[in-house]
């Protein structure tokens, strides 16, 4: 008995020394979930940079890239049940409010953000906050802009720089139709609400009120959707495969040269560069049209907040790392240079060396520079509210309401009344 105990002990010690090298002891491993492959790549680069700066506290990421719905649903179940949650996770803005309901199972990151906060657009931090606690690190501003297909517009005698209002836009569309009857001026989305939301922001309103009630049957909304529906009826705007630009079908539709103008947040630039090769050196960027000149010409849309969950293995380090990886100047440069997004650190927007770098592949792709436009509209970028009822509103708009408006061409006033009722019924 005694001898076997001793030999077990010796074996155990031998194994202990064999497997616990001094180098491996320090590395903190974090599991990281995301739904965008580029984000996983970005975080790997930021982890390397972090390790260079902090050789005493190195981190290593185990990234899992999952489909959008799967990742969000899995995270929800993991946080609700307290089992299997990752340390660090990306959450898309339209789903974010779900994770703030009840007692958020996410770590407040205020202490870690403090060092960087002065440079960051405050509203972008606000959308991932609750009761003064900041839970998510933003990626970009997502300012909406217009991407014009210059060649085709010029062939119809249209100068995109002269399109200032939606009336100009419709007029250009009519001109375009005469020369290219099979082309369209723009896309009326049915599975996303980019243009509609931007049109609301122009009129100083939103999908949800300050006291968290849905604002669907409003005169502003009616004006927005009627304007778009009329253009669909006239053949100026069209619905597209998969219902919106940022989908396989949508990108294919644009890449085939079917649309003369795409209204999307700035981050859509990266999709052009990565997935629409035919439009290389054919697209120009400009501020989007408004109802009346003088209205704000942009709104920040889309986004991903990176969070640290309450179940993280080393919360302090995770918090510090996330803050560095998303909010530091290094990070903000990378967000533009690597991913092609408009960084939340707007001070960088004037850094011409970075913004006008001729080597940059995003700059090479487009005929005009995105930051020239961003600086022009900088003070006009509105922000949307993100509240606990936002996921419900967004879901209803993108499955029912916009389809009824732009596919079935039903009466807008009636559609909006029904939408208001259906959404309220789900919420209250």
């Amino acid at each position: 008995m005694k001898r076997s105990t001793l030999s077990m002990l010796v074996l155990f010690l031998a194994l202990w020394f064999a497997f616990s090298g001094p180098a491996a002891a320090n590395v903190t491993k974090f599991t990281f979930w995301t739904f965008i492959p580029q984000h996983a790549r970005f975080f790997d680069v930021m982890a390397e940079k972090w390790n260079e700066l902090h050789p005493d506290r190195p981190v290593e990421l185990e990234s899992s890239v999952m489909p959008y719905d799967d990742m969000h649903n899995k995270l929800q179940i993991a946080l609700q049940s307290g089992v299997g949650a990752p340390d660090i996770c990306d959450i898309e803005i339209s789903r974010f409010p779900n994770y703030l309901m009840g007692v958020p199972q996410l770590m407040p990151l205020n202490a870690y953000f403090e060092a960087y906060i002065d440079d960051i657009v405050p509203s972008r931090l606000g959308i991932y906050s609750k009761d003064g606690n900041m839970y998510g690190a933003p990626t970009h501003v997502g300012a909406t802009m217009a991407f014009y297909y210059v060649e085709i517009l010029e062939s119809a005698g249209i100068d995109y720089r002269e399109i200032k209002t939606w009336d100009d836009f419709a007029e250009a569309g009519r001109k375009l139709k005469q020369v290219h009857p099979d082309k369209f001026m723009g896309i009326a989305e049915t599975s996303a609400a980019w243009t509609v939301t931007a049109m609301l922001a122009q009129q100083g309103t939103d999908l949800v009120s300050e006291d968290e009630r849905p604002l669907i049957n409003t005169p502003e909304m009616l004006r927005a959707v009627t304007t778009m529906q009329n253009m669909v009826k006239e053949g100026i705007m069209t619905t597209c495969p998969d219902g919106q630009p940022d989908t396989e079908g949508g990108k294919g539709f644009i890449d085939q040269g079917n649309v003369a103008c795409v209204i999307m947040p700035q981050w859509f630039m990266s999709r052009f560069v990565d997935e629409m090769p035919s439009m290389y050196q054919k697209m120009a960027i400009a501020p989007m049209p408004v109802f009346e000149e003088g209205m704000p010409r942009s709104v920040g849309l889309g986004g991903t907040g990176t969070v640290v969950t309450n179940f993280a293995s080393n919360k302090e380090l995770a918090g510090e790392f996330v803050a560095y990886a998303k909010l530091s100047e290094d990070a903000n440069r990378m967000i533009w240079e690597d991913m092609g997004f408009d960084p939340c650190n707007t001070a960088l927007w004037t850094d011409r060396e970075m913004t006008h770098n001729p080597e940059n592949r995003y700059n090479q792709y487009f005929l005009t520079n995105a930051f020239d436009v961003l600086l022009e509209i900088k003070d006009e970028i509105m922000m949307v509210r993100s509240t606990s009822i936002s996921p419900t509103i967004n879901q209803y708009l993108t499955t029912v309401m916009l389809n009824e408006l732009f596919e079935d061409l039903l009466d807008p006033a009636e559609v909006l009344e029904n939408a208001q009722y259906d959404i309220e019924n789900q919420i209250f």
């Binding site: 959008y68 719905d69 969000h72 649903n73 929800q76 179940i77 946080l79 609700q80 789903r95 779900n98 994770y99 309901m101 009840g102 007692v103 958020p104 199972q105 049915t190 599975s191 495969p241 219902g243 079908g249 996921p391 419900t392 879901q395 209803y396 993108t398 499955t399 029912v400 389809n403 009824e404 596919e407 079935d408 009722y421 259906d422 019924n425 789900q426």
Partner: protein
């Protein structure tokens, strides 16, 4: 030791020991979740914050038009799958069972194959087949007949047709297998006797085969009704997510999933689930009553 042995050889205790595994799994994996779901359906369930809301979830369900759409879709799907997947496989099985059939083994295998295809793969393939671009498979078929391409998965009727077609493609083989097993049990002498009595092919099928496989038909009907009402994955895969345009592919379970997981309303989702359980139970009860299964047990 002796006490354990005594217990094991006890004739009174033995039956209970034998049914214990089933009873335990039934209690843990069915009764307990159902009871918790009933409790949750009267609550608002959020992490670290559970509040009782009384009948609010059910009240909301009553006025919910999207839920009605989901119920409508589930019922229409169930109706069409039952209408096709009960008689068609029976006829096919009867043909496969016939001595006149050539290569019946081969056809049985071919018809059974689709169910081996994962529903995720099948859904993806059907989604591509029913694509809205002119180059998609189904639109090429239409073009062959000189018809315009249509947006299959954006219209209520064609979307449902795609769902039903996929269900038929996948499940025909399985139902054939059930029916074949039953048909094989009918002795050949009975067919011969019927033939001698002057029964023609149709009469032999209608008055001999069908009554004798009736228990199997009832079984297939019962599971088909439930499967139809509880369908979710097929729709989820066909529309690449739970969000079909105008909710044309939304089912009851899809709505439960949307409310519970996508919008974090577990309490409301529980109410949806219980309504599904209730509806499925009532229909199955009526159906078993009409087909006389309960009556038989009483005799």
């Amino acid at each position: 030791m002796t006490r354990i042995r005594k217990f094991l050889y006890n004739q009174k205790a033995a039956p209970y020991v034998f049914v214990l595994p089933f009873v335990l799994t039934f209690l843990i994996f069915f009764v307990y979740p159902v009871l918790t779901t009933i409790r949750m359906s009267f609550q608002e369930v959020l992490p670290g914050m559970v509040t009782n809301v009384g009948w609010k979830n059910y009240q909301r369900l009553l006025g919910d038009r999207i839920f009605r759409t989901a119920v409508g879709n589930s019922f229409r799907y169930m109706f069409w799958t039952v209408l096709i997947l009960i008689p068609m496989p029976l006829v096919l099985a009867y043909m496969l069972n016939s001595r006149l059939m050539v290569a019946s083994e081969f056809f049985r295998g071919v018809l059974f194959l689709p169910i081996l295809v994962n529903v995720v793969v099948a859904g993806t393939i059907f989604r591509l087949m029913f694509g809205e671009l002119p180059g998609s498979f189904m639109n090429t078929v239409r073009a062959f007949f000189g018809l315009e391409p249509i947006k299959w998965l954006r219209q209520k009727e064609t979307g449902m047709a795609a769902l039903v077609l996929m269900a038929c493609w996948r499940w025909t083989g399985v139902n054939i297998l059930y029916y074949l097993a039953a048909l094989k049990n009918i002795p050949l002498e009975m067919y011969e006797a019927a033939e001698i009595d002057g029964a023609n092919g149709w009469q032999r099928f209608r008055h001999l085969a069908v009554p004798l496989v009736k228990p199997t038909i009832i079984y297939v009907l019962t599971i088909s009704i439930y499967a139809g009402l509880a369908m979710f994955t097929e729709s989820y895969m066909l529309w690449a997510g739970n969000n079909s345009p105008r909710n044309i592919g939304l089912t009851i379970v899809g709505y439960l999933y949307r409310q519970g997981w996508e919008q974090n309303r577990m309490g409301f989702a529980s109410a949806v689930g219980l309504v599904l359980l209730l509806v499925a139970s009532i229909i199955s009860f009526i159906q078993l009553r009409i087909t006389g299964v309960f009556g038989k047990e009483r005799d």
